[in-house]
């Protein structure tokens, strides 16, 4: 949100288990409807991911990020 306020097009990615916390931050920041992209298991909320896991996740998330930033989601 702070990047957006600074004029940088942004989209936040949060883990599904942390959705409630992310929404709470959005609410106290005055943006209760702020939209997120979410990641779910098997990617865990906090982890030391292998290179393969990172690449797999990037492959899934990159098109979603692009779509969100270009208004095509």
């Amino acid at each position: 949100m702070e990047l957006e306020w600074a004029g940088v097009p942004s989209i936040a990615i949060v883990h599904e288990e942390m959705r409630g916390s992310a929404q709470a931050i959005a609410r106290v920041s005055g943006c209760p409807d702020y939209e997120f992209l979410t990641v779910d298991y098997p990617w865990v909320p906090i982890a030391i991911w292998s290179k393969e896991e990172c690449l797999d996740l990037a492959e899934i998330m990159a098109p979603k990020v692009l779509a969100a930033l270009t208004g095509q989601s």
């Binding site: 298991y41 906090i46 982890a47």
Partner: protein, 327 residues
Amino acid sequence: MTTAPQHAYDSYEALVEDYFEKGWTDGLPIMPPTPEKVAAFLERAGLSGDEVLGTVPTREVTCTAQQAAANAVMAGCLPEYFPTVVAAVRAHLHPKGNCHSTTGTLSGAAQAVIINGPIRNELGVASRAGCFGPGFRANATIGRALRLVIRNVCRGIPGFLDRASYSTPARYSFCFGENEEASEWEPLHVQRGLAPEQSAVTVHSLMKMVEATDFTSRNAEGVCDTLVTNIRANGIAGDSWLGEDGNVVIVVGHEHHRFFNEEGWSKADIQQYLWPRLNAPATSATDRMARIGKPEGILIVAAGGAGMGASWLLLPHLALAITEPIS
């Protein structure tokens, strides 16, 4: 029923200040143990005031239900919590609960109160996110009630019979529930011989709490190996008085529990995997034997919230974990 001394005060503030002055609190304010409230607690548990819940022979202490009720009121409990407090006091004062040693030790051992069965949800005992910490009345006050009994009845007063070098914040209160809904795992009290519908308390004396973090394992064996490494880094000496029945409690966190669920590991599977590895001979000062007499002495409890790839190890002081049904 035993008649306790009564004191009259002009105000709540005067009462609290006098209790501080007399050394009857843990350093925090208390609720006034009025005769009416104490009677209501006893009635809720179906106990007469002079019923003996346990003794500490070394200290010439006998703990009655009335004394426990007064301390439960002071801790901020609701009357419906009192049967759970009674079970916790009975468990702690079991001879093998070893009150004298576990509350007097230089190590500052604390008591973990673990609640199982339907009463967890009836009382609102937290077993998921934040369950070790503040914010939950049942957890906070049931654990505190046991600690006030230890102080005010069992004479576990710092500098007197409590000789802890540092003590621990867990001595204010440490109570949580098992997250029985997290999986098909057999709850702790069922593993210890009680029926699933029977609510129960297990009191475990812990010398040390160790967080076993593991953000890299992606399977059950990997998590178990991390548990072994962390327990063996501390070691468990065992004790001839406790014999083969010694315990360690492993609180398995949400992110680790997933792997056991996915691979169909039961608690018994975990116990069988861990036991020989814990009891293997030491190889260095940081890889020590963790002497647990039987696989079932490894008590597995599911609790905690999502996020951290961590489980908690509640390493024992000189006592057995005692499970008592809640009447």
